[in-house]
C-alpha cells in the first residue's frame, strides 16, 4: 500500500474533458493506463445535433460527469491533489459546446492551481490510436461526422495529405439517414440496412488526387431513394460500398505517396465494420499493417484528451489562460507536435 501511494505521488495524472459535439466525457489517465472515463451523451429529440442544445446538455451534465470520474479514481487512491493538469478539447468542434467545456476546464485549473492544456481533438484521436495499438509512424484515416482526412506525421506536424472538399463522411451518412427517416445517429442504422443487400446500384465515386467529395454521393443516394423507394437496403449498401471504397483508395494513395506501411483508423465512423474490412483487405494486399483501436477510443472520449494532455504536459507544452480560447476550426496541422522526436521521414 505504501508503495502504491508512492507511485501515485510520482506518476503524472491528467483529467481530460471532451465535448466538441454530442458526447460529453471526463477521463482520468495516468502514464500507464486509462483509469476511468465517464460520459453523458446528448440525444436530439429529432433531426441532427443542435449546437446550442448540445452545449446546454454539456453545461447541465458537466458536474455529474466530472464527479463520476473523480469518484471512480478515488477508490484507487487517486485524489484531487494527485492530478497534475486539466486537459480539454480546444477544437475543432461546435462553438457553443467548445466554450462550455473550456469554461469548465479553466475553472478547474484555476481552483486546483494546476496547468491547463488545450488539446486538438483530431490529434487526440490519432495519438490515442497510436498508444492503444502500438502503431509507430502510420498514415492515419480520420473519419467522423464533420471530418474526413488522411494524415501523416512529418517534420514536427501532422500533415493533411487529403481531405473532403465538401462535407465529412459522417455528416453525409447522417444526412442520408435523416432522409430515410432514421433517427440520429444514422450510421449504425445505415450499416444494418446495408448488411441486408448485395445489390449494387451505381453512385458517383469522386476522388481528386487524395481529396474526396461526398455531397454529390449524398444527393445521388437521395435521388435513387425517390426513384426506387422499396429498395432502401440496396441504396444503403451501395452508399457504403461507394463512400468507403473512396476512403480506402485515398488511404492507399497516401501510403504509396509517403512510403508508409502502417495505416491507423481513427474517429467515430471507424466503428463501421465494413469500412474496417475494406481497409484491412487493402493493407493485407499491399503487405501493410492495419490498426484500429477499441470502439470506445474511436468515438469522442475524454481519455484521448487526457492522454494527449499528459504527453504535452510531460513536454512542458501547457496553455496559458490568455491563449485558452477555443477554435471551432482548429486544424491538426496548426499543432506543433512537441512529443514526437527523431523520427525518420521518407518522402
Amino acid at each position: 500500500m505504501k508503495e502504491l501511494l508512492y507511485i501515485i505521488e510520482i506518476m503524472t495524472i491528467v483529467l481530460g474533458l471532451e465535448g466538441t459535439a454530442w458526447n460529453l466525457s471526463a477521463a482520468v489517465v495516468s502514464e500507464e493506463d486509462v483509469l476511468y472515463d465517464a460520459e453523458s451523451t446528448y440525444m436530439p429529440l429529432q433531426g441532427g445535433i443542435h449546437p446550442r442544445e448540445a452545449a446546454q446538455h454539456h453545461a447541465s451534465e458537466m458536474k455529474d460527469v466530472v464527479s463520476r470520474a473523480l469518484r471512480a479514481v478515488k477508490e484507487e487512491g487517486i485524489l484531487l491533489k494527485h492530478i497534475d493538469a486539466i486537459a480539454y478539447s480546444q477544437g475543432p468542434g461546435l462553438g457553443p459546446c467548445l466554450r462550455t467545456v473550456a469554461t469548465a476546464a479553466r475553472a478547474l485549473s484555476t481552483s486546483l492551481k494546476i496547468p491547463l492544456i488545450g488539446v486538438n481533438h483530431c490529434i487526440a484521436h490519432i495519438e490515442i490510436g497510436r498508444w492503444r495499438c502500438g502503431a509507430i509512424d502510420p498514415v492515419v484515416l480520420y473519419v467522423s461526422g464533420a471530418n474526413s482526412q488522411v494524415l501523416a506525421y512529418r517534420a514536427g506536424r501532422y500533415r493533411v495529405l487529403g481531405e473532403t472538399l465538401d462535407i465529412g463522411i459522417g455528416n453525409a451518412i447522417d444526412k442520408f439517414a435523416r432522409y430515410l427517416g432514421l433517427s440520429h445517429p444514422g450510421g449504425p442504422k445505415i450499416e444494418q440496412l446495408a448488411s441486408k443487400s448485395t445489390n449494387y446500384v451505381p453512385l458517383p465515386y469522386i476522388i481528386k488526387g487524395m481529396d474526396l467529395s461526398f455531397s454529390g454521393l449524398s444527393t445521388a443516394a437521395k435521388d435513387a431513394t425517390d426513384s426506387h423507394p422499396a429498395e432502401k437496403a440496396d441504396i444503403c449498401y451501395s452508399f457504403q460500398e461507394t463512400a468507403f471504397a473512396m476512403l480506402t483508395e485515398v488511404s492507399e494513395r497516401a501510403m504509396a505517396h509517403c512510403s508508409r506501411d502502417e495505416l491507423l483508423l481513427a474517429g467515430g465512423v471507424g466503428a463501421n465494420k465494413r469500412l474496417q474490412q475494406m481497409l484491412q483487405l487493402m493493407c493485407r494486399d499491399r503487405g501493410a499493417r492495419f490498426y484500429v483501436p477499441e470502439a470506445r477510443y474511436l468515438k469522442d472520449n475524454g481519455s484521448m484528451i487526457a492522454y494527449v494532455g499528459l504527453i504535452m504536459y510531460k513536454h512542458g507544452d501547457i496553455t496559458p489562460l490568455e491563449q485558452s480560447g477555443v477554435n471551432p476550426h482548429f486544424r491538426p496541422d496548426d499543432v506543433k507536435v512537441t512529443w514526437r522526436k527523431n523520427e525518420s521521414f521518407k518522402t
Binding site: G118, K208, G209, D334
Partner: protein
C-alpha cells in the same frame, strides 16, 4: 522491374512500361470493373491529348481493358529532385494543361518525372478529365500545393515558383484560378483562422 503503385502494377520491361490496373478486392466487383475500365480508357486519351498540346507525356502504344503499354521515361520522380527551377517549369506545364481544359486530377510530385534529358514529363492521368471551369482548375492546383506541403520542406518557395510558371503559360486566367485556390483553402473544411478566439471567459 515491377513497381506496385496505389492502383496499378507498373512493369518496366526494356523500353516499355506496362501499367495494369489491378483488381481491388475491397471494392465491390461491379464498381471496381467500372472504375478500372473508365480510368484506363480516359488515361490513354488524355495522356495523348496533353502531349499534342505541348506537355511531355509517355507515348501510348497499346490500350486494353485494364492495361496500357507505353514508352519508358528514364529519370527521377520530381518528389526526389524538385527545386525552384523545376517547380517553375511544372507550373508552366500545368498552365498549358489548364489552358486546354485538361485537368490532371492527381497533381503530386510522385506523378511528375524529371527525365535524364532534363525534360519534365507528366505521368498517371488516371484521374484526369476535361473541364473548363475555374473551380476544377483551382482544385487541381490546390492538390499540387497540398502535395508540396505534405512532403517538402521548402514548400513556400516551391509554391512561389510554380505560380510564376503557371502565370506565364496561362496569362488569361491564372490570376482567377489562383484566387480560387485561396478561396478553396479558406472554405469549410480548409478553414484556417489566424488565431484562436480570444479567451472570452476568465475563470472565477
Amino acid at each position: 522491374m515491377i513497381i506496385q503503385c496505389a492502383e496499378a502494377i507498373v512493369e518496366l520491361n526494356g523500353d516499355l512500361v506496362y501499367k495494369r490496373r489491378i483488381e481491388k478486392r475491397y471494392r465491390v466487383k461491379e464498381l471496381d470493373t467500372r472504375i478500372r475500365k473508365e480510368r484506363t480508357k480516359s488515361e490513354a486519351k488524355l495522356i495523348s491529348e496533353a502531349r499534342r498540346k505541348g506537355v511531355p507525356t509517355p507515348i501510348i502504344f497499346d490500350v486494353q481493358d485494364h492495361e496500357l503499354v507505353m514508352e519508358r521515361i528514364e529519370g527521377d520522380l520530381a518528389r526526389e529532385v524538385i527545386d525552384v527551377a523545376i517547380s517553375e517549369r511544372i507550373g508552366e506545364l500545368v498552365g498549358i494543361l489548364h489552358r486546354n481544359s485538361i485537368i490532371h486530377g492527381d497533381l503530386t510530385t510522385s506523378n511528375i518525372i524529371v527525365g535524364h534529358d532534363k525534360i519534365i514529363y507528366f505521368i498517371d492521368f488516371g484521374l484526369a478529365f476535361i473541364e473548363s471551369n475555374v473551380e476544377t482548375k483551382g482544385v487541381d492546383v490546390h492538390v499540387f500545393f497540398q502535395s508540396l506541403r505534405g512532403t517538402h520542406e521548402s514548400h513556400d518557395h516551391l509554391k512561389e515558383s510554380f505560380v510564376k510558371g503557371y502565370k506565364r503559360s496561362f496569362p488569361t486566367a491564372a490570376a482567377q484560378v489562383l484566387k480560387r485556390v485561396a478561396e478553396i483553402e479558406r472554405r469549410g473544411r480548409y478553414a484556417r483562422q489566424s488565431k484562436t478566439e480570444s479567451a472570452k471567459v476568465t475563470a472565477q
